[in-house]
Symmetry: C2
Subunit: 121 residues, 2 copies
Amino acid sequence: MPRDAEAIAEQVFVALADPSRRAILAGLASQGPATATDLAGCLPITRQAIAKHLALLAEAGLVTAEPGERRRVRYRLCSAPMQVAQQFLAALARDWDGRLDALKDHLDRVLPGLPQPHQTQ
Amino acid sequence: MPRDAEAIAEQVFVALADPSRRAILAGLASQGPATATDLAGCLPITRQAIAKHLALLAEAGLVTAEPGERRRVRYRLCSAPMQVAQQFLAALARDWDGRLDALKDHLDRVLPGLPQPHQTQ
DNA sequence: ATTTGACGCAACCAGCTGGTTGCCATAAAG
DNA sequence: CTTTATGGCAACCAGCTGGTTGCGTCAAAT
Protein backbone atom coordinates (compact mmCIF):
# COMPACT_ATOMS: atom_id res chain seq x y z
CA MET A 1 0.00 0.00 0.00
CA PRO A 2 2.76 2.52 0.75
CA ARG A 3 3.93 4.35 -2.31
CA ASP A 4 7.58 3.29 -1.79
CA ALA A 5 6.61 -0.35 -2.00
CA GLU A 6 8.72 -0.48 -5.14
CA ALA A 7 11.81 0.53 -3.19
CA ILE A 8 11.22 -2.23 -0.66
CA ALA A 9 10.48 -4.69 -3.43
CA GLU A 10 13.69 -3.75 -5.21
CA GLN A 11 15.75 -4.45 -2.11
CA VAL A 12 14.00 -7.78 -1.68
CA PHE A 13 14.65 -8.67 -5.32
CA VAL A 14 18.30 -7.75 -5.03
CA ALA A 15 18.58 -9.77 -1.84
CA LEU A 16 16.85 -12.84 -3.20
CA ALA A 17 18.70 -12.74 -6.50
CA ASP A 18 21.83 -14.17 -4.89
CA PRO A 19 22.07 -17.91 -4.15
CA SER A 20 24.31 -17.45 -1.11
CA ARG A 21 21.81 -15.03 0.34
CA ARG A 22 18.97 -17.47 -0.23
CA ALA A 23 21.06 -20.18 1.41
CA ILE A 24 21.59 -17.94 4.43
CA LEU A 25 17.88 -17.28 4.68
CA ALA A 26 17.18 -21.00 4.32
CA GLY A 27 19.64 -21.69 7.11
CA LEU A 28 17.94 -19.18 9.35
CA ALA A 29 14.57 -20.69 8.49
CA SER A 30 15.67 -24.21 9.33
CA GLN A 31 17.82 -23.55 12.37
CA GLY A 32 16.10 -20.53 13.80
CA PRO A 33 18.00 -17.39 14.76
CA ALA A 34 21.74 -17.80 14.41
CA THR A 35 24.98 -15.85 14.29
CA ALA A 36 27.21 -15.31 11.29
CA THR A 37 29.68 -17.80 12.73
CA ASP A 38 26.97 -20.41 13.12
CA LEU A 39 25.94 -19.99 9.51
CA ALA A 40 29.55 -20.16 8.36
CA GLY A 41 29.54 -23.73 9.65
CA CYS A 42 26.86 -24.77 7.17
CA LEU A 43 27.93 -22.78 4.13
CA PRO A 44 30.98 -23.00 1.88
CA ILE A 45 31.94 -19.36 2.33
CA THR A 46 33.74 -17.46 5.07
CA ARG A 47 32.20 -15.82 8.09
CA GLN A 48 33.01 -12.37 6.75
CA ALA A 49 31.24 -12.99 3.49
CA ILE A 50 28.19 -14.11 5.45
CA ALA A 51 28.42 -11.03 7.64
CA LYS A 52 28.31 -8.84 4.54
CA HIS A 53 25.29 -10.68 3.23
CA LEU A 54 23.59 -10.36 6.61
CA ALA A 55 24.22 -6.63 6.59
CA LEU A 56 22.55 -6.36 3.20
CA LEU A 57 19.65 -8.55 4.34
CA ALA A 58 19.23 -6.43 7.45
CA GLU A 59 19.22 -3.30 5.31
CA ALA A 60 16.46 -4.88 3.22
CA GLY A 61 14.55 -5.66 6.41
CA LEU A 62 14.51 -9.38 5.71
CA VAL A 63 16.47 -10.03 8.88
CA THR A 64 16.79 -8.31 12.25
CA ALA A 65 19.96 -8.27 14.33
CA GLU A 66 19.49 -8.82 18.03
CA PRO A 67 22.58 -8.53 20.22
CA GLY A 68 22.74 -11.34 22.76
CA GLU A 69 25.04 -12.19 25.60
CA ARG A 70 28.77 -12.53 25.19
CA ARG A 71 29.09 -10.13 22.32
CA ARG A 72 27.19 -12.49 20.02
CA VAL A 73 24.73 -11.12 17.53
CA ARG A 74 21.90 -13.33 16.43
CA TYR A 75 19.93 -12.78 13.27
CA ARG A 76 16.26 -13.58 12.98
CA LEU A 77 14.10 -13.81 9.89
CA CYS A 78 11.51 -11.15 9.14
CA SER A 79 9.03 -11.88 6.39
CA ALA A 80 7.27 -8.52 6.27
CA PRO A 81 9.24 -6.95 3.39
CA MET A 82 8.92 -10.16 1.43
CA GLN A 83 5.18 -9.93 1.64
CA VAL A 84 5.43 -6.39 0.33
CA ALA A 85 7.48 -7.64 -2.60
CA GLN A 86 5.04 -10.46 -3.17
CA GLN A 87 2.11 -8.10 -3.39
CA PHE A 88 4.15 -5.85 -5.65
CA LEU A 89 4.65 -8.79 -7.99
CA ALA A 90 1.00 -9.73 -7.82
CA ALA A 91 -0.09 -6.20 -8.70
CA LEU A 92 2.38 -6.08 -11.58
CA ALA A 93 1.17 -9.37 -13.03
CA ARG A 94 -2.41 -8.29 -12.68
CA ASP A 95 -1.72 -5.04 -14.52
CA TRP A 96 0.11 -6.73 -17.34
CA ASP A 97 -2.57 -9.24 -18.09
CA GLY A 98 -4.72 -7.48 -20.62
CA ARG A 99 -6.12 -4.92 -18.28
CA LEU A 100 -3.59 -2.30 -19.32
CA ASP A 101 -4.06 -3.22 -22.94
CA ALA A 102 -7.69 -2.17 -22.71
CA LEU A 103 -6.64 1.01 -20.95
CA LYS A 104 -4.08 1.69 -23.60
CA ASP A 105 -6.63 1.30 -26.35
CA HIS A 106 -8.84 3.80 -24.62
CA LEU A 107 -5.99 6.25 -24.31
CA ASP A 108 -5.09 5.77 -27.93
CA ARG A 109 -8.60 6.71 -28.95
CA VAL A 110 -8.93 9.65 -26.58
CA LEU A 111 -5.42 11.11 -26.88
CA PRO A 112 -4.34 10.52 -30.45
CA GLY A 113 -1.25 12.73 -30.35
CA LEU A 114 0.74 11.69 -27.38
CA PRO A 115 1.84 8.19 -26.88
CA GLN A 116 3.31 6.94 -30.12
CA PRO A 117 6.89 5.94 -29.46
CA HIS A 118 9.03 8.08 -31.72
CA GLN A 119 12.42 6.82 -32.75
CA THR A 120 15.47 8.87 -31.96
CA GLN A 121 19.10 7.99 -32.44
CA MET B 1 4.83 -26.49 -8.18
CA PRO B 2 7.69 -27.49 -10.48
CA ARG B 3 10.83 -28.13 -8.54
CA ASP B 4 12.77 -25.59 -10.61
CA ALA B 5 10.40 -22.84 -9.62
CA GLU B 6 13.32 -21.44 -7.66
CA ALA B 7 15.37 -21.15 -10.83
CA ILE B 8 12.59 -19.24 -12.55
CA ALA B 9 12.09 -17.09 -9.49
CA GLU B 10 15.80 -16.32 -9.36
CA GLN B 11 15.78 -15.12 -12.95
CA VAL B 12 12.76 -12.96 -12.24
CA PHE B 13 14.43 -11.49 -9.16
CA VAL B 14 17.60 -10.74 -11.09
CA ALA B 15 15.56 -9.15 -13.87
CA LEU B 16 13.44 -7.03 -11.57
CA ALA B 17 16.35 -5.95 -9.41
CA ASP B 18 17.53 -3.49 -12.05
CA PRO B 19 15.78 -0.11 -12.42
CA SER B 20 16.44 0.14 -16.16
CA ARG B 21 14.89 -3.26 -16.64
CA ARG B 22 11.83 -2.26 -14.63
CA ALA B 23 11.60 0.90 -16.71
CA ILE B 24 11.67 -1.17 -19.88
CA LEU B 25 8.92 -3.41 -18.56
CA ALA B 26 6.90 -0.35 -17.53
CA GLY B 27 7.35 1.05 -21.01
CA LEU B 28 6.13 -2.16 -22.57
CA ALA B 29 3.19 -2.18 -20.17
CA SER B 30 2.17 1.38 -21.00
CA GLN B 31 2.82 1.41 -24.74
CA GLY B 32 2.16 -2.18 -25.58
CA PRO B 33 4.59 -4.29 -27.59
CA ALA B 34 7.53 -2.26 -28.87
CA THR B 35 10.97 -2.59 -30.39
CA ALA B 36 14.26 -1.80 -28.74
CA THR B 37 14.53 1.33 -30.85
CA ASP B 38 11.11 2.48 -29.71
CA LEU B 39 12.04 2.03 -26.09
CA ALA B 40 15.29 3.87 -26.62
CA GLY B 41 13.18 6.94 -27.36
CA CYS B 42 11.73 6.95 -23.86
CA LEU B 43 14.75 5.93 -21.84
CA PRO B 44 18.06 7.67 -21.15
CA ILE B 45 20.19 4.77 -22.38
CA THR B 46 21.22 3.58 -25.80
CA ARG B 47 19.39 1.14 -28.00
CA GLN B 48 22.10 -1.47 -27.54
CA ALA B 49 21.86 -1.33 -23.76
CA ILE B 50 18.12 -1.85 -24.07
CA ALA B 51 18.69 -4.74 -26.45
CA LYS B 52 20.89 -6.42 -23.86
CA HIS B 53 18.26 -5.95 -21.21
CA LEU B 54 15.61 -7.30 -23.53
CA ALA B 55 17.73 -10.37 -24.17
CA LEU B 56 17.99 -10.98 -20.43
CA LEU B 57 14.27 -10.41 -19.99
CA ALA B 58 13.50 -12.81 -22.82
CA GLU B 59 15.79 -15.39 -21.22
CA ALA B 60 13.84 -14.98 -18.00
CA GLY B 61 10.62 -15.44 -19.96
CA LEU B 62 9.26 -12.06 -18.90
CA VAL B 63 9.16 -10.95 -22.50
CA THR B 64 8.68 -12.68 -25.84
CA ALA B 65 10.29 -11.54 -29.08
CA GLU B 66 8.04 -11.62 -32.11
CA PRO B 67 9.66 -10.78 -35.44
CA GLY B 68 7.48 -8.46 -37.47
CA GLU B 69 7.66 -6.96 -40.90
CA ARG B 70 10.62 -4.98 -42.15
CA ARG B 71 13.16 -6.73 -39.99
CA ARG B 72 11.68 -5.18 -36.85
CA VAL B 73 11.44 -7.23 -33.69
CA ARG B 74 8.72 -6.37 -31.23
CA TYR B 75 8.78 -7.43 -27.62
CA ARG B 76 5.65 -8.27 -25.67
CA LEU B 77 5.21 -8.72 -21.95
CA CYS B 78 4.65 -12.16 -20.48
CA SER B 79 3.56 -12.37 -16.87
CA ALA B 80 3.72 -16.13 -16.39
CA PRO B 81 7.20 -16.34 -14.82
CA MET B 82 6.35 -13.41 -12.59
CA GLN B 83 3.44 -15.30 -11.19
CA VAL B 84 5.77 -18.21 -10.51
CA ALA B 85 8.08 -15.88 -8.63
CA GLN B 86 5.16 -14.39 -6.77
CA GLN B 87 4.00 -17.78 -5.57
CA PHE B 88 7.58 -18.63 -4.68
CA LEU B 89 7.66 -15.56 -2.45
CA ALA B 90 4.32 -16.40 -0.91
CA ALA B 91 5.44 -19.93 -0.14
CA LEU B 92 8.68 -18.65 1.36
CA ALA B 93 6.91 -16.19 3.63
CA ARG B 94 4.46 -18.83 4.73
CA ASP B 95 7.29 -21.27 5.38
CA TRP B 96 9.21 -18.78 7.47
CA ASP B 97 6.29 -17.82 9.61
CA GLY B 98 5.33 -21.46 10.10
CA ARG B 99 8.83 -22.42 11.13
CA LEU B 100 9.09 -19.55 13.53
CA ASP B 101 5.75 -20.31 15.12
CA ALA B 102 6.65 -23.96 15.51
CA LEU B 103 9.99 -23.07 17.04
CA LYS B 104 8.37 -20.64 19.42
CA ASP B 105 5.81 -23.21 20.53
CA HIS B 106 8.53 -25.78 21.01
CA LEU B 107 10.61 -23.44 23.12
CA ASP B 108 7.60 -22.41 25.12
CA ARG B 109 6.92 -26.04 25.99
CA VAL B 110 10.50 -27.08 26.70
CA LEU B 111 11.70 -23.96 28.49
CA PRO B 112 8.70 -22.81 30.47
CA GLY B 113 10.00 -19.83 32.40
CA LEU B 114 12.90 -18.53 30.44
CA PRO B 115 13.05 -16.44 27.45
CA GLN B 116 10.30 -13.88 27.11
CA PRO B 117 11.00 -12.83 23.53
CA HIS B 118 12.68 -9.51 24.16
CA GLN B 119 12.67 -7.76 20.81
CA THR B 120 15.68 -5.57 20.64
CA GLN B 121 15.77 -3.01 17.90
C1' DA C 1 21.78 2.19 -57.36
C1' DT C 2 22.02 4.83 -53.47
C1' DT C 3 20.40 6.24 -49.33
C1' DT C 4 18.15 5.52 -44.93
C1' DG C 5 16.75 3.48 -40.83
C1' DA C 6 17.05 -0.45 -37.77
C1' DC C 7 19.09 -4.65 -36.16
C1' DG C 8 23.00 -7.56 -34.45
C1' DC C 9 27.59 -8.30 -32.95
C1' DA C 10 31.97 -7.35 -30.80
C1' DA C 11 35.17 -4.73 -28.28
C1' DC C 12 35.93 -1.95 -24.62
C1' DC C 13 35.43 0.45 -20.12
C1' DA C 14 34.27 1.80 -15.23
C1' DG C 15 32.18 0.42 -11.31
C1' DC C 16 29.99 -2.76 -8.43
C1' DT C 17 30.01 -7.29 -6.02
C1' DG C 18 30.95 -11.61 -3.99
C1' DG C 19 34.62 -13.40 -1.75
C1' DT C 20 39.10 -13.77 0.53
C1' DT C 21 42.92 -12.74 3.89
C1' DG C 22 44.80 -10.22 7.70
C1' DC C 23 44.60 -7.64 11.77
C1' DC C 24 42.71 -5.87 16.01
C1' DA C 25 39.45 -5.59 19.98
C1' DT C 26 36.86 -7.74 23.31
C1' DA C 27 35.11 -11.07 26.52
C1' DA C 28 34.83 -15.48 28.60
C1' DA C 29 37.70 -19.52 30.23
C1' DG C 30 42.06 -21.62 31.80
C1' DC D 1 47.46 -13.14 33.16
C1' DT D 2 47.32 -15.81 29.20
C1' DT D 3 44.66 -18.28 26.18
C1' DT D 4 40.87 -18.88 23.08
C1' DA D 5 37.13 -17.97 20.53
C1' DT D 6 34.19 -14.41 18.29
C1' DG D 7 32.94 -10.22 15.97
C1' DG D 8 34.23 -6.00 13.38
C1' DC D 9 36.82 -3.53 10.17
C1' DA D 10 39.77 -2.73 6.00
C1' DA D 11 42.29 -3.90 2.11
C1' DC D 12 42.47 -6.42 -1.78
C1' DC D 13 41.18 -9.28 -5.85
C1' DA D 14 38.67 -11.45 -9.86
C1' DG D 15 34.74 -11.50 -12.33
C1' DC D 16 30.42 -9.85 -13.64
C1' DT D 17 27.47 -6.02 -15.32
C1' DG D 18 25.50 -1.94 -17.11
C1' DG D 19 26.68 0.96 -20.54
C1' DT D 20 29.08 2.94 -24.55
C1' DT D 21 31.06 3.25 -29.30
C1' DG D 22 31.85 1.38 -33.69
C1' DC D 23 30.98 -1.44 -37.57
C1' DG D 24 28.69 -4.60 -40.90
C1' DT D 25 24.33 -5.77 -42.82
C1' DC D 26 19.85 -6.07 -44.54
C1' DA D 27 15.28 -4.28 -46.16
C1' DA D 28 12.74 -0.69 -47.81
C1' DA D 29 12.29 3.91 -49.73
C1' DT D 30 14.21 7.35 -52.91
